[in-house]
Symmetry: C2
Subunit: 159 residues, 2 copies
Amino acid sequence: MSSQVLSTQVSADPHAGSWLRFLRAHAALTRELSSRLEAAHGVSLRDFDVLVQLYFAPEHRLRRIDLARTVILSPSGITRLLEGLERSGWVAKHQCESDARVTWAVLTEEGVRKVEECRPTHLSDVEELFGSRFSPEEQEQLAEMLARLPLHDAGVCNG
Amino acid sequence: MSSQVLSTQVSADPHAGSWLRFLRAHAALTRELSSRLEAAHGVSLRDFDVLVQLYFAPEHRLRRIDLARTVILSPSGITRLLEGLERSGWVAKHQCESDARVTWAVLTEEGVRKVEECRPTHLSDVEELFGSRFSPEEQEQLAEMLARLPLHDAGVCNG
DNA sequence: CTATGATGCTTGCGACCTCAAGTATACAAG
DNA sequence: CTTGTATACTTGAGGTCGCAAGCATCATAG
C-alpha cells in the first residue's frame, strides 16, 4: 500500500515532457537567482530586470508602458514596481512634453551605479546556474529555439 | 551621457541573452496556457499540474510534501492550493495509517474525470504554442538540455 | 522514559501581481 | 466644436505565494 514510485517516470506524451521540464526549470532557476540577488544587493530579479532594461535604453529612459510590455508585466504591475524603485532613488518619473499621457521612467545616476554594482554578480550567477551547463554552440541554439516561441512583444533584450 | 543603443540590441554577455529569452518565453507561455485552461475548464495551470501529478501517481495519491516538491511549491503553498481542489471535490485528504504526520492527497473519481477532460485540450494547446515550433529531434534535445539544469528535486514528470 | 532533533503540516502576515474600473489625454470623423 | 475611440496611467479589490512561527508526530540517544 505504501508503494511509491520509481523516481524516474516516462511521460505518456512526447510534448508534455519537455514542456513541463521547461516549466519547472524556470521556477527553480528564477527562485534561486532572485534570492541570490536579493541577498547580495537587496533587489528582486524583477526589479533588476527593469533596471537593466532602462540601463540599456537610449538615455536610460523608457515609457512606462513599453517597459511593462518588455518585462511582461501589466500596466498596474509596472506602476507598483516602479513605486519601489522610485522610493529607493534608482528611477525617476519624467513627464513627456509632447504627449501628456505618457510618463518616462528614467534611471537616475544612482540607478546606473546600482545596475553596475549588481550586474557582475548576477551574470556570474547566471553563468553558474545556466551558462555553465551548455556549450557556446548549445547556448546559441537554445536562444534560437526560444526565439521561435510566440512572445507577444519581445522588446529589447539584454543581460 | 546619452549613449546607447539601437532597438535591436546585442547582449553584452553571451549567456545573458539566452537566459532572458528563457525568462520571458516562460512568462508568456505560462500566461497563455493558464488562461486557456481557465477559460475552457476552470482550472489554473498550477491546479492542473497538481491534478496530473496525482493522476500519474500510484493509486492516484501522493504525500502532500512530495507533491509540493515536484510542482515546486512551498508546503504552505500546497496546503492552500489543495484547499481549492478539495472544495471542488477533485482531491481528498487521507490520513496515513503508519505515520500520523503525513496526509495523502488522493485524486477522487471526479478528479480523474476532470483530468481526462482537461488533458486533451491542454495537450493540444501545448502542441500549438510549444510543440509545433520544434521538430521531434529538437524537442528531445531541448528536453535533454533542460534536464541538465539544477532543479532541486525533480520528481515525477508527466504531461 | 526522557530529551533532542527532524519531519509533515497549517496559519498569520506581508509581498507581489492581475483584473476591472476610473481619470486624463490624444486623435479622427462628422 | 462635438463625439467616439484608443491610449497611458493609477487605484481598489482580490488572489496566490513564500517566510516565519507554531503544533503534532516520529526517531534516536542517553
